[in-house]
Symmetry: C2
Subunit: 327 residues, 2 copies
Amino acid sequence: MERMEILYLSQKEVASFGIPMAEIVIAVEKRFIEMGNGRVEMPPKPGIHPGADENNFIHAMPAYIPSLASAGVKWVSGYPPNQAKGLPYITGLLILNDPETGIPKAVMDCTWITAMRTGTASAVSAKYLARPESSKIGILACGMQGHTNLEAMNAVFPLKKVIAYDVSTRQAKHLADFADKTLGLEVEIVHDPRLAVSGCDIIVTSGPILKTPHETIRAGWVDEGTFASLVDFDSYWSQNALNQADKWTTDHLEQYEHFKTKGGYFQNCPEVCAELGEFVTGKKPAREKQEEKTFAVNLGLAMEDMAVVPLVFQRAIEMNIGTRLPL
Amino acid sequence: MERMEILYLSQKEVASFGIPMAEIVIAVEKRFIEMGNGRVEMPPKPGIHPGADENNFIHAMPAYIPSLASAGVKWVSGYPPNQAKGLPYITGLLILNDPETGIPKAVMDCTWITAMRTGTASAVSAKYLARPESSKIGILACGMQGHTNLEAMNAVFPLKKVIAYDVSTRQAKHLADFADKTLGLEVEIVHDPRLAVSGCDIIVTSGPILKTPHETIRAGWVDEGTFASLVDFDSYWSQNALNQADKWTTDHLEQYEHFKTKGGYFQNCPEVCAELGEFVTGKKPAREKQEEKTFAVNLGLAMEDMAVVPLVFQRAIEMNIGTRLPL
């Protein structure tokens, strides 16, 4: 029997390749088209919920994309109490397998891929649901997801101005610095969350995911013609604000329903009118009018991770980065 | 933020601790009692099915056992065509997390744990469903599972004689050698599968799992008072042979129903009368009469893996074995 080996890549190594956001947006959009055409295998993600906080989760996210020969699983945890301990909210690993034999070929830290692909899913939704001339973006909660969502939106839209809101001013400053120095955008830090919502073309809410929404955003704040990506589910939104949506979309209806019926999320949300795979393939309409308020609640799909991981693995092999380990 | 590290253990390292089968049987039985009392979190295992063979699978198996502080996932593949390529049927990895923070703390090859815990689940079922004086065991398919099932049964019963059947004589000889030299048992290799069924107190079928049973075992072969563990689901059995079961049990009814309705397995099997967790806790009867023919179809539970992995992890830490990697 031949010697079997896996390649291990740390968070630092995965990030070191500096894969451009624009490349990731295209990779993810392509796989949503395949998903819309039924060419991806992705069961709903099951999870466990250890620890004292009811919002803690560790999810198993398996997917197989035949066209990329990409098969594997992400095992990712989200622990809101970690932040107070100086630990990351999101941690986890991703395993990549050879689809021909099922044998694992790589294990890597999943946080970089998770952050990047979540941003790109928002940007793919926005490409179809936001006005193409969108230039002003509000980011509510300026952590890792705030950064990558902003970066991905900037790869798709002619952004000019960022309005940054966070309960932590340090976090807001961190994002402002990134928007200014790395992306070259004008930034304003605000202490009233309404200012990061009203007057914006695109809104991203990207705090921790909570079972009970804190309802910071109220009815009447969202302008006509705005697109909102709710990376943290409905955690930021009051029921009345959500009911002002003209189109309410998700990346995966089956999983959305699973979260709703089994998980207790989305209890006060509008009905889903279309899946992301349906409007990227033109099977259902995306934005139809200038004044529509469009919303995307993308749950984060294993398929997105498996769309990005080949970009990472290929670079690691080419550049001979990582630690080889016997299986 | 503190530096985060994971410990990696290869298949060879995991096996090197030589954890005794009797210790594993007790660890697994204890967790079945907890499961029977509702103290384990274990969602059904989802999977993907790459490759040309419809029997290929890669399953995600998450579980959390609060009493052991054991939380994690096994990502395990079974590819029947691998054997013809000189590759293992079962491969995969297991990730162990800190339940307090969700952060991964170890990754290890899962094949040793899978083999051992599957054997022990059979033995725990047998402890309650086989006659205590059982001494003659038939093993049909003498691969890895044949070995560990035999070893586990030998840890629980006063075994004397092993009847070994395999379509590959080399495999049968391999098991015979193990039974003789390692376990000190009398062994007979047979070329007629009926001889490994009729006259045996305990039967284990442990070939590859197939959607369409090959129906080698026919009605009338199983004696009164026999217990059978169907490690390979119903792959070995004809419908008429299965219908002679007096008690048909499984380790997890929800998962059994999932495999039946979604996976297309168990189409011609009797109704399940009890779950393993129900008879280890005395909530339902196990064997009641000498002459009963009792069957266990244990699907393999994530909970079993998470019951065993702390035994491995603890030894690795104590003996300073494994490779430390930055997360």
